[in-house]
Symmetry: C2
Subunit: 104 residues, 2 copies
DNA sequence: CATTTGCATAACCACCTGGTTATATTATTT
DNA sequence: AAATAATATAACCAGGTGGTTATGCAAATG
């Protein structure tokens, strides 16, 4: 709720999509996450921060560690947006042919 | 198929998402599309070009006009990616509580 | 208490993005 | 043939993005 960042923009980056996949069914610290990518720790921290800002990741600080987990319900907006068009692409298979057809 | 541009990046921009909605069940020319947005014609042309590059829009030139239509099946990739996580967010409702819980 | 660890922050960089205006190109209209 | 219309292209610009290294700081460890 009240996501400040746009979730569509957050998932535009393939690295962040991979992070979501990583944290879908696992709780990892920032360093754990960083081990899965060939980039510096600050770069990973920034990505995680963006994911948190739009609600896609939830973090809980425990001592000096930060335990992170994906909050996948934030993807509902994306799923619904894409799915609203499913009827269209199931229905009208050949748009190109359709476009060309009306040249009388 | 063989989309050169990333569809996730294409839909990251709200203007382009609006254009997809506009062309979901309508065939419009570039100028028709431009009338729906408060930006210059070249700006609209660029957005449409990006949508075309990743297969989200199909265009057919007819004389000096260009007839455009959304090819919504290109959204299947997005829908499938988001939907793969639906089981997770249906299953585990309170991630935050879950995260906090294991502090024994 | 000194050191190490986990993470954030700052400053910087190259490149990308989304917009602009001006102009070119091609097709239609008069 | 000249004028107009539809679109593309070029050149430019401000601000954003994704990365870096260096450093700071709180928490855990020896």
């Amino acid at each position: 709720m009240t996501a400040r960042r746009d979730v569509f923009q957050a998932i535009a980056d393939p690295t962040r999509r991979a992070m979501i996949g990583l944290l879908a069914n696992r709780t990892l610290t920032i360093n754990d996450v960083a081990e899965n990518f060939v980039m510096s720790q600050p770069a990973v921290s920034k990505h995680m921060h963006i994911l948190m800002e739009c609600g896609l990741v939830v973090m809980v600080k425990k001592g000096r560690e930060k335990h992170c987990r994906a909050n996948l319900s934030a993807l509902e907006e994306v799923a619904r947006w894409a799915e609203q068009y499913r009827a269209f692409w199931n229905d009208r298979l050949d748009i190109l042919g359709d476009l060309l057809k009306n040249d009388e």
